[in-house]
Symmetry: C2
Subunit: 496 residues, 2 copies
């Protein structure tokens, strides 16, 4: 377990250690019941004072991540530890592997995905559109004949930066969204996730300050933490990232990069206001930092007009724009893009070369017929007319069946509804109960870079048909109601 400590940061070392260990535990990278080093050994390895190590462990114990068994040591919390059994497993021939330290502090997306391996029938955790609503026949027919006509697509390396025909088509498509880019400024990636990685890995090193919204996209937090970034977070309100608070942070720290999802923010669904988009750009100029604008699903919209992207307002190459095509078109193709200019672009192309020498050609060619025609417009119109019904159904069910203490925002786009539970309720306990009924959702705590809030959940309404969606939401409402009933029945016990 390698822990990157930023000794120049205002964040106390004990909190940094807490963050690193709690993230590893929450990601399942340190297993339940595993023995942790003693405070003395931790203080020695990390070159911190004994007081700091003790404080870090106290914080972890307070939040129930770890437990100390008198005379035995400190363990990751598990049922065995609670029951005071011997929590250590039998030794195996692979035990030496634990001495191989790693630089992977967090993988919460992975953790949530592992939970799905139990195959819940009602997958409200999915933040994308079900394949039955996507242009399967159209694209597969095209691809089927293309591969016969041009089999070498499977047998030749494509250009590192991506297929030029696809980049040109994407540039044309983005123009319809008011984003003016040339094909030369676009790099094709394996989904948006690789795009975020290319940016983080190229520009962020241990201790660099990255600012993210809180909450934000789980797997983007995973990536920036992987690079050893010091992540500072800014809350989101109805108009998006709180620029007033951002400014305060920038005054005290020197951010290298600000990551934002301005349109139908993940997970809250918020749209950043026009004024804040402009202010954000000004702040990035003033503090000489990069903006990463992640735009995974602005195509899923229930509004008649859309706000210009921050990239379209940017005249100085300050914004790195990430556009994915998985969430509303073809998840299996894993096509994303990262766009930039000048030496920022140049370095991202070099990073793509180092990462995997380039994406497969065939899946790049798959999207062409859609992008080169007006099918995309028709597809999106049709898709959104279906999705708005699902959203409305979801909202109606929540209104009709959710206990009054539970709140949510009405998303004007994107695939998610962000639900806030009573402050005492734990989304993790809720998930545990939901999974036993084959239902999955995303616990909101995974969306916080630090200081997680445990009383939010994200549900997606685009992956399930109306029947399943109804079943899922009703079950969720019923579980939450029973949690509330239970709480109040306990509270009702008269104190004599």
């Amino acid at each position: 377990m390698h822990i990157d400590l930023n000794r120049n940061s205002n964040i106390p070392l004990s909190v940094q250690i807490y963050q690193s260990i709690s993230d590893r535990i929450a990601s399942g990278l340190i297993e339940k019941g595993a023995k942790l080093p003693s405070v003395r050994s931790l203080s020695k390895t990390l070159k911190v004072s004994l007081v700091t190590a003790v404080k870090a462990y106290s914080l972890l114990e307070k939040d129930n991540f770890i437990a100390t068994i008198q005379g035995k040591g400190t363990y990751v919390q598990s049922e065995d530890v609670v029951n005071n059994n011997n929590p250590e497993n039998d030794s195996t021939s692979l035990d030496w592997q634990l001495s191989i330290t790693d630089h992977l502090p967090r993988a919460q997306f992975w953790r949530q995905n592992i939970n799905l391996n139990t195959k819940p029938q009602i997958q409200m955790s999915a933040a994308h559109v079900h394949s039955s609503l996507l242009p399967e026949q159209h694209i597969s027919k095209h691809l089927s004949s293309l591969v016969l006509k041009n089999p070498s697509l499977l047998f030749e390396y494509g250009p590192i930066q991506g297929d030029l025909e696809l980049r040109t088509s994407i540039a044309n498509y983005l123009k319809t969204k008011d984003v003016s880019l040339s094909a030369e400024e676009i790099v094709i990636t394996n989904g948006s996730q690789q795009a975020i990685n290319l940016v983080a890995r190229t520009f962020i090193g241990a201790g660099d300050v990255v600012i993210m919204e809180a909450p934000t996209y789980t797997a983007a937090i995973d990536v920036f933490r992987w690079q050893g970034a010091t992540i500072l977070s800014v809350p989101v309100d109805k108009e998006g990232m709180r620029i007033d608070l951002l400014l305060k942070i920038c005054d005290s720290y020197s951010p290298k990069l600000i990551y934002t999802i301005p349109s139908y923010h993940n997970p809250t669904g918020t749209v950043m206001s026009m004024q804040r988009r402009r202010e954000l750009l000004n702040i990035a100029r003033d503090f000489n930092c990069l903006i990463v604008e992640d735009d995974p699903w602005s195509e899923i919209t229930f509004e008649k007009s859309f706000l210009p992207s921050i990239k379209s307002l940017d005249t100085s190459g300050r914004v790195i724009y990430i556009k994915g095509f998985s969430k509303f078109l073809a998840p299996g193709c894993r096509i994303g893009t990262v766009s930039a200019s000048g030496s920022i672009l140049n370095r991202l192309v070099a990073a793509k070369a180092n990462s995997d020498l380039g994406s497969p050609l065939l899946t790049q060619k798959a999207l062409l017929p859609f992008l080169q025609s007006n099918f995309m417009e028709k597809h999106l119109k049709n898709l959104n007319s279906i999705l708005i019904k699902r959203r409305n159904l979801a909202l109606k069910l929540l209104t009709d069946h959710m206990p009054i203490d539970v709140k949510w925002a009405i998303p004007q786009g994107g695939p998610n509804i962000w639900i806030t539970l009573p402050s005492w309720m734990s989304a993790e306990s809720l998930l545990f109960e939901a999974q036993s009924r084959n239902i999955a959702f995303l616990p909101g705590s995974t969306c916080y870079p630090s200081e997680p809030e445990f009383n939010h959940i994200r549900i997606g309404f685009c992956f399930l048909d109306e029947h399943k969606l109804k079943e899922g939401i009703l079950a969720l409402c019923s579980i939450i109601s029973s949690f509330i009933d239970q709480k109040y029945s306990h509270n009702d016990i008269p104190i004599i």
Copy 2:
């Protein structure tokens, strides 16, 4: 320009700075004619003494990477600098981007690939098989009907670890090569390159010691340098990595990882002897480090038997085994694998999730018909019968036409011939001349993690048909001869 300095290393800081800057220049990440910081500013930024900064610049100047223009400053070497013109370009609105430091010290594979953009007709730099020798019809027919039958392959996310059917087939295939792995131990990656990245990014951080062969695979050096590794190199002789020298390094340093290509080594074609394979495994155990065994093309073989892989000798989960399917099967599918066990495996799967959430499903399914049948055996038999003719042709042409001062080894497998020029000859100058005749090869200096040798070149004989191969090698022989003639004609000038 961020430079990772390992202050605990025996390598002098001036040499570390030299390495970092020279790599950026050789990779084109700092452009020709660009102005470098003054020694005073460098010493301040990197917190090193002025003497150290001066020494680093002297080394760079000695090797002709940079030049100082009196009264102006220090510049990356370029024609303008040589001619004492003003080497600075006009300022543009993107100039601020240069102040955004990056963590990307090297991208030599990318650099070489950019050179290919001039599209040389005779591409002897390619280290893979031409698509006309690959089972294009067979695989494309299968895929064409598969995509019609099951279009959702394009529209659904696959498992993060990779398609189970493919992993099972690969496990069965690897058994024919005496590598015994279960499907659960295999992770599907975007080519071997991503596999190397997953390993490096998970287990290597700034200053960790990685040992590589010298020379070795260019793009693997790019990756380990990207992670800030301190790379130490061990020469290769006829039996592969010099284990006696490796042992000496291990005694002085604490390696975290040893990267090796034991079978038909890239670029030299050497096969590591059985004894050394065993010794390497023992050393990894004794020094508690990982072995990464990269096996890109042991299928391309002109021998009747093969030595067991190091992975197959490993009983304690010490070896991470990387097997690619691009070099002899379907480069365009970008299918590679990384295999490990226990917590090493677990962490690599988490790393794959963080990297791109999983590879495209369709290209994974493309390889199935081959792996699930005996087509692979037939394909390889047929392929190798063609490739041995090309190798023999290449060797005969070299013997008949290459000047006597030039040496090469006879490869028993793999796609390359490693050629050693007279020690005074620069492969870079040779490449410059060759490219003007539309010929490309790989200059050997890119294959050295440090202290490059400039008098080697790597040519591939599997990408070109016999006609082009002949044309390329004859041209190469002619250029080299003319370089030698020129050298001796200069030397012949009588000194009066």
